[in-house]
């Protein structure tokens, strides 16, 4: 069975500090990977996707970056946090490409930027 582990569960960070969030997917080779984000009171929106190792596409510009250093790992980061980065971050994977496919989510990271 496939599992997805997302870390950390929660972060409280200062404006201007760096951030690194991660997730690991086990039991599935070459998954499609995604980062979604929900601002407080907002809706979940896709930030990045990756089809293969080393390739990441940005969907929304939020002064964040993402990388896929391994087939099973997806990292979201920034060198300088903004207040607007606060919210709930979800890592997800799908077995195939296309919006008709089910997304499998991690448990999420709640980020508070102060």
């Amino acid at each position: 069975a496939q599992t997805i582990h997302q870390w950390p569960v929660a972060e409280i960070k200062a404006v201007g500090s760096p951030l690194s969030l991660g997730c690991t997917i086990k039991g599935k080779s070459s998954p499609n990977l995604y980062w979604y984000w929900q601002a407080t009171g907002g809706t979940l929106q896709q930030l990045f996707y990756s089809i293969t190792v080393g390739q990441v596409e940005s969907v929304v510009q939020l002064n964040l970056s993402a990388s896929r250093p391994k087939d099973d790992q997806f990292i979201l980061s920034t060198e300088k946090l903004l207040l607007s980065h606060s919210g709930f971050y979800l890592c997800a994977w799908s077995p195939d490409w296309g919006s008709q496919n089910t997304l499998y989510f991690g448990a999420g990271t709640r980020l508070s930027v102060l």
Binding site: Y34, Y49, S99, T102, A107
Partner: protein, 114 residues
């Protein structure tokens, strides 16, 4: 652009009463897919239902929904609410199989009380 509207932010129901959570959408794509994802507290969001063909009902775990393209709707229903149904419910639109992105509604928090 594509969008999903969930009118109710919070729904509070007495156990045993029927559940209906509204979802309407807008897209230019004719073969869109609609999903309901459920997010229980301290768990990962997971797929509850996925749309089938137009006017066909899909069911899972006591919940059901019917895609109505004529009214651009995919309302979630259940005949009798249970305490364990308390969760956050997201309606999501997968507009095209050419890309892999879901557009989410803002979510409806369902609270079932005794």
């Amino acid at each position: 652009g594509d969008s999903v509207t969930q009118k109710e932010g919070l729904v509070t129901l007495t156990e045993g009463l029927p559940v209906m959570l509204n979802c309407t959408y807008q897209t230019i794509y004719s073969n869109a897919f609609l999903f309901w994802y459920v997010h229980y507290l301290n768990e990962s969001p997971r797929l509850l239902l996925k749309s089938s063909t137009d006017n066909k009902r899909t069911e899972h775990q006591g919940f059901h929904a019917t895609l109505h393209k004529s009214s651009s709707s995919f309302h979630l229903q259940k005949s009798s609410a249970q305490l364990s149904d308390s969760a956050l419910y997201y309606c999501a639109l997968g507009a095209s199989s050419s890309f892999s992105k879901l557009v989410f509604g803002q979510g409806t928090s369902l609270s079932v009380v005794p």
